[in-house]
Every structure is written in structure tokens, then in C-alpha cells.
Amino acid sequence: MRVTNMLSDVQYAMQQSQQNLADAEQQVSTGLRVNNLSDDPTASANMVTSLASSASVDQYTKNVTSVLPQMQTADSAISSIVTSLNSAITLGTSGASSNGVTANKQSIATQVETVLSSVISQANTAYQGVYVFGGTASTTPPFVAASTTYTSSQGSAASPLTSSTALTAGSVTTISDATTGESMTFKAAAGDTVATLQSAITSAVSAGTLSAGTTATINAHGQLSIATNSSATGIVVNSNDEALGSMTAVASTKVANAYAYVGNSNVNSVQVGDSLNVATNISGSQLLTSGSNAIASLTGLITALQSGTSTDIGTATAAVSAALSAVGQQRIPLDNTISQLNSQESYLSQETLTLTTAQTSLVGANIADAATNLSNAEIDNSAVLAAAAKAMPENLLKYLQ
């Protein structure tokens, strides 16, 4: 074959050699085998999925870090409550055997009041603004001092509310009972009136949610009055119904040492793994007021010490013991979750490493190979340039004289 001009071949060879050199340099400097999608489309696509997994694992790790202190705070609060209940049992036992000396029993009753205040304080523990025992109603303290009577801000003698006064559709009125430890939540539907609310309260009493004698009436001032019977330990009423306005406790009806739970029983959960969600709160009702009502038991012990017989004190003390046992049981799943979170932290750390290794395998360059390739590309490029410099100037004219 006639060879007329090597220029185009030389240019092509030089270009190829320089491209190879540039590619090798890029791999060494970036540490990546795949710098563009077209370098390896399959690896690039798989990398998208892997990076998404990494982002999820990172977030799970942050979630663990975020919720663990809150749960440890809750656990610490429960621990304090257990200590307080133990103190109350000791005091109650002492009171039951104080040989009928009233002064002694009164003194012990005062000490139990202090214990109750401590328990309420622990029950209203907040972590970074979140009340840990309020269920999902976690923006306000879950345990509130109870009164026997609440009245609406709306209504007056001149313009009284009536049973046919329309309620605001979608509004919510909640009555929390310190004696039963439960709450009635009424959500007004379109067309509902005060009479509907009254009927709902009656039904709640029948069901045992509210204490017997709890009613809603229109008082002499034209206001809606929601009250429980005087022998009960009181209620707390909240409403966002504009027709009723705010519900306020009548000051003279505050019940000493009585607290109602105004949170709810709903639980939040947070994802800390692809298939792992953990509950991040225990509702105050589950912990302290449902079943063995710890708050009511302390209130009952105080009452028994103030005016009851030794038998009454003994019975009240036994109720506190039962409450203590129930509280202790509630601590077990919380402790298990804390333990699970600690384990999960270690697992996620390992998972991060696994994903990083996989990603390096997908798109990373073997540095040793990349360095060798770079060296070879440099040698090749030098050889191509040297060959071009040698061969191109040569032709017959150079030798003809």
C-alpha cells in the first residue's frame, strides 16, 4: 500500500494517547473510575440507589441520637416517680400505725402532699419543649390541677346560652376526670347544639368515663357550666369552640391535691431502620391514671390521712402499692426500647461502612491500578510524540543533492 502522508495517522495517535493520559490523570486525581454517567451507565444508576440508602442510614442515625435523650429523660422521670411512690407507701404505712394521733397523721398527710407534687412535676417532664408523658398532645403540661366546676366565657344574663345554641362544627371540647383518670372528647358536627354536648356528657357518665353526677347546665349568668359532684376529685375542661369561648375553672371549686390528665393516649413512633420503628413516648394515662391510678391513689392517701381511720389509711396505702407495681411494669418496654436504640446505633454505623465500601466498589478507582495506568499512559504519550518527531520530517528530497 502506498503511504503518502503520515500526518493524519500521527495526529490521531497523538490525540488518542493524550485522551488516555487525560483519563488516567482524572482517575488518579478524583479517585473515581466513573466520573461521567457515560463512563458506566449501570454503575451510575446503581450509585443513585446506593446514595439514597446512605442518606436514609444517616438519617436513622440522627433519629436515634435525637430520640434517645428524650426516652432517657422519660425513663429518669419514671424512676423518680417510683422513688416517690415508695416514699408514699412508707409514709402511708407509718400513718396507718400512728396510734390514732391526729397530729401525726396530719404531718404525714402534708409529706404525702409533697410526694404528690413531686410526682406531678415528674409527670409534667418536658424535653426540649415536648411534654414526654402527654401522648401526642405534647405541647402543654399533661397533668393539670382539677376543679369541680368550669364555666364558659361566652353567655351572659342579657344574652344567655341555651340548649339550642349552635356549636361550631369541627370544634373540640374535652373533659378530663381526675377520679376516673379518663377523658371525654366531643367533636362538634354540623348542626350540633349545647344539648348535643349535654347528651354526650350523660353518655360518658353512663360509660364510666366521667364521674357520676357530671353535668353541663346553663347557670344563672347565662354561661355553660360543666361540673362534677362535690365528692369527686374534680375535672379539667378545655374547648376551642367559639360559641362557648374559653372554659375557665371557678376559683372556689379547686380541689386540693386533685389532678386530671389532659393529654391523650396516642403514641408517636420514629423510624430508626429500614424495618424498625420505635415508640418514642408513653402516654400519661397509660403510665399513671389508667387501671391503677397512681395520682388518684396518692390523693386518696392524703384524704385518708387527713380524715380517715387507720383502716382507711391502710386501704389507701395498698392502692398506692398497686399503682407502684403498674408504673414499674410500664417502665419495662421503655427500657427495652432504649436498649434497642443503643444496639441500633452500632448496627447503623456498620451499615454506613458497608454502603461506603459498596459505593467505592461501584465507581471508585483502584488507586494502585490507576497510578500504573497513568505511568503507562505517560510513557505511551512520550513514545508517540518521539516517533512522530522522528518519522514526520523524513522524505526523499532531504537526501537528494
Partner: protein, 458 residues
């Protein structure tokens, strides 16, 4: 045989050598001229004459010159040029699109992960306004990533659209020039002459045209007839047929022949073919995938949002605003809410509930209407971009290597070898010198003959 006959023969030799030297000189002068086909002198022995019983040769005659061509190689080079230009047109656009889908801090995949991370973070404290705002910010960043990707694709498409007009304009100029050369070629052929530099010029113009679009070349008595791959005439004899462009109902430039028929889809080679293929097939395919993902993602998130309650206890409203039709979804998607309190975290109406965030988070692993999760759908899009670019790159590389080989082969046949021409210089120089020596010898003989007559008279 007379001295005059010998002198004539010697003079013919001088002319032949002189002509051959001129051809060699021309070859050397055009050694680096693009498209130049080397010429060789056509030397023919002169007809012999009879002198009684013997037949004597009458020297050499320079019949003319001939270009050394290979029509098959030329055709192959034209076809390979079409393929290379087409691949390069596609590669150029796709390489401009690649970075938008390459993993970075702002690509769609990264922003989508950030959205789900922010939702998960919010679940640890659903009433936190800081964490709520983080969700809105992440959501808007994702919408922006979609907008950017869409605008990159449509900007490329717009650029290619302009390129179509430019290519058609260039095609029309080239076909005009080829048509102008055809009468010259026809005349040369009619008189039995070699096409020479006129043919070279025409071949170069056809090669430039091949870089623009797919053409077929037919040699006729009237010169070269050119048609597109679909059979649309571009040049017939001395007449060229201009192509036109017009805006179609799709907003794109369509190519029409002289009769006004749309031939856009038949233009498959060259820069114009590659441009059209990228503009009308590759990019629309990517846009559809992108729009589908944006539309289905936004719709799914809105549906999850509607299942919960915001911080005010009101049922969740749309998180994203997106067009009802799939087309244009990626360019128009944006956040529908700006108040962080409107994120529907709650499942029970309380501000502290995170129950509905599980529904929003679940969208990460829930299959959309397309049958893929959002992450998998995006990964498919990334693969498609990479695969298209990789294919175009491979085609470009392969055609470049193939063209190099073909051009080497053509150069081997038609190219000027300086070494060869240098040798020819020596050869024809020596021929000229020898012929001149003969002339000198004959001149001397004439002098002797003339002297013979003068000496006798004395």
C-alpha cells in the same frame, strides 16, 4: 530515416518529459491541498512508420493526464462522514445534558433524599417550626432541581432547533455550488477529458454536504445528481433544489422539500440527522421520563399530605403544585405551601402527633403509578442519559477510526507521495536531459552535413 525525423522524435521526447515534469510539479504543489487527486502523465508510444522493409518507432506522445481516483472509496468515505457527523451531533448535546443528572449536591436524586430525610427528622419533634421549615426548604430544592433539569433539556432542544435552520442554510449553499460545477463536469466528460480539479472540487463539496445530511450521489452525463436518503432531489444537472424550514405544530423547525412536503423524518444522517434525532427522539424521551417522575411524585406526596392534619388541626392541603397533565410537570412543579405549620404531620389533629409523617416517608419506598419507586424511577433516567451518551461516544469513536482507515486507503490511491514525485522528478529530468542530448547530437550531425557540402565546394 532522416535526421529531421529523428529531430522530431527527440522534440516529442522533450515535450513529453516537459509535460510529465509539469504534472509532477503540480502534484508536489498540491501535496497538502485537501481533496486533491494526484495526476499521472499518460504517455503513449507514437505510431510507428514504415521505411521499406523496416518499421520504425516515432517516439513518445504525451496523451494528457489522468487523475487517480477510487469512486468506491469516495462513496464509503461520504457514508462514514455522515455517520460520524450524526454521532458527533448527538454526543455534543448529550454531553451537555449529562452533568445535570450526575450526582452532586443539587441533583434530583440528592434533593429527593433530602426531602425524605427532612420528613424523618421532623418525626422526632413534629411541632418544631425549625424542622418544619427544613421540610419546606428541602421540598422547594427538589422542585428547583426538577425545574433546572427540565430547562436544561429544553434549552438543548431549542439550540438544536436553531441548528436545524443553520444546517439547512448550509446545505442549500452547497447544493448551489455543486450545481454550478455540473456543467463544467458535463463538458469535460463530453470531450473525453479527465475531471481533474473540477471533479476534486465537486467531491469536496459533496463531502461537506455528507457531513450535514445523508445524500446519495449518482454520476450522470449532466454531472452529479444528488438526492437525500429519502429520495428528495437536491441537485440535478445545473439545477439545485433548495430545502426550506418551517415551524411545525410542535413548535419545532421542520424541513420541507421544494414542493413543500415535510421530509424531516427522512433526514437521518450527518449533523442535521443527528440533530433531528436528538431533538425529536432522545430529548423528548428524557423529558417524558422526567415529567412523569415529577408529576407522579408530587401527586403521591399530595395524597399522603391529605391523609393528615396540620399544626392547626386542619386536614392537609397540597404540598406541591404541579400541572394536571404530565407534560411540563418538571418545569412547573413548585411548593404549594409556604407556611411550615401547614405540613400535615398529625394523624389525630394534635400538633404533637407525627402519625401522618409515616405516610409521607412511605412514599420513598412506595411504587408510583409507573411501577417504580421515586428513587428507582430517577435511577432509570440516569441510566438512560448515561447509556445514550455512551452509545453516541462509541459510535463517534468507531466512525472516527473507520474514517481514518478509509482516508488512509484513499490517500494510498489518490494522495501525493513526495517521495514518489521526487523520484519522478529525477526520472523525467533524466528523460529531458537525454532527449536534449539527442537534439544536440542531431544538431551536430546537421552541422557536419552542412560542412560536407562546403568542404566539397572548396
Amino acid at each position: 530515416m532522416s535526421l529531421n525525423t529523428s529531430l522530431t522524435t527527440a522534440v516529442q521526447s522533450l515535450n513529453a518529459a516537459s509535460g510529465a515534469l509539469q504534472i509532477t510539479n503540480n502534484n508536489i504543489a498540491n501535496a497538502n491541498t485537501a481533496g486533491y487527486t494526484r495526476q499521472v502523465a499518460v504517455l503513449q508510444a507514437a505510431a510507428s512508420s514504415s521505411d521499406g522493409n523496416s518499421s520504425l518507432g516515432n517516439g513518445v506522445v504525451l496523451e494528457g493526464y489522468q487523475s487517480v481516483r477510487d469512486e468506491l472509496l469516495q462513496t464509503q468515505i461520504q457514508q462514514e462522514t455522515q455517520a460520524q457527523s450524526g454521532a458527533n451531533a448527538q454526543l455534543s448535546s448529550l454531553q451537555a445534558i449529562e452533568p445535570t443528572f450526575t450526582t452532586s449536591t443539587t441533583d434530583i436524586g440528592t434533593e429527593m433524599s433530602a426531602v425524605f430525610s427532612s420528613i424523618s427528622s421532623l418525626s422526632t419533634n413534629p411541632a418544631s417550626s425549625t424542622l418544619q421549615q427544613a421540610v419546606l426548604t428541602a421540598g422547594q430544592n427538589l422542585a428547583t432541581a426538577f425545574n433546572t433539569a427540565s430547562s436544561t433539556l429544553t434549552a438543548q432542544q431549542s439550540g438544536l432547533n436553531t441548528q436545524v435552520t443553520q444546517d439547512v442554510s448550509e446545505i442549500n449553499q452547497l447544493t448551489k455550488q455543486i450545481a454550478a460545477l455540473n456543467p463544467q463536469l458535463a463538458q469535460l466528460k463530453a470531450t473525453g477529458q479527465d475531471g481533474g480539479t473540477v471533479q476534486d472540487q465537486a467531491d469536496q463539496l459533496v463531502l461537506k454536504l455528507s457531513a450535514l445530511t445523508n445524500v446519495s450521489v449518482t454520476q450522470t452525463d449532466n454531472g452529479e445528481t444528488l438526492t437525500t436518503g429519502g429520495g428528495t432531489p437536491l441537485v440535478v444537472g445545473s439545477q439545485s433544489f433548495a430545502l426550506q424550514t418551517t415551524t411545525g405544530t410542535d413548535g419545532m423547525q421542520h424541513v420541507l422539500d421544494q414542493s413543500g412536503d415535510d421530509i424531516t423524518s427522512s433526514l437521518t444522517g450527518g449533523d442535521l440527522g443527528g440533530t433531528i434525532q436528538t431533538r425529536d427522539t432522545a430529548i423528548p424521551g428524557l423529558l417524558t421520563q422526567l415529567d412523569t417522575l415529577a408529576n407522579q411524585f408530587a401527586t403521591a406526596m399530595n395524597a399522603a399530605q391529605a391523609k393528615g392534619y396540620d399544626q392547626n388541626g386542619v386536614a392537609g392541603t397540597n404540598l406541591y403544585t404541579v400541572s394536571s397533565s404530565v407534560s411540563g410537570s418538571a418545569s412547573t412543579i413548585k411548593m404549594a405551601i409556604t407556611d411550615p405549620a401547614l405540613i400535615a404531620s398529625s394523624s389525630d389533629g394534635t400538633s404533637g402527633s407525627n402519625g401522618n409523617l409515616a405516610n409521607l416517608s412511605a412514599m420513598q419506598t412506595t411504587k408510583l403509578a409507573s411501577g417504580k419507586t421515586p428513587g428507582d424511577a430517577y435511577a432509570s433516567l440516569v441510566y438512560q442519559v448515561g447509556s445514550l451518551t455512551s452509545s453516541a461516544n462509541a459510535e463517534s469513536t468507531a466512525t472516527t477510526a473507520s474514517l481514518l482507515q478509509l482516508n488512509d486507503q484513499l490517500s494510498s490511491v489518490s494522495g501525493v507521495s513526495i517521495n514518489e514525485e521526487a523520484a519522478n522528478l529525477i526520472t523525467f529530468q533524466q528523460s529531458y536531459e537525454a532527449a536534449a542530448r539527442v537534439v544536440s547530437t542531431i544538431q551536430a550531425l546537421f552541422s557536419v552535413t552542412m560542412s560536407m557540402g562546403t568542404a566539397a565546394a572548396e
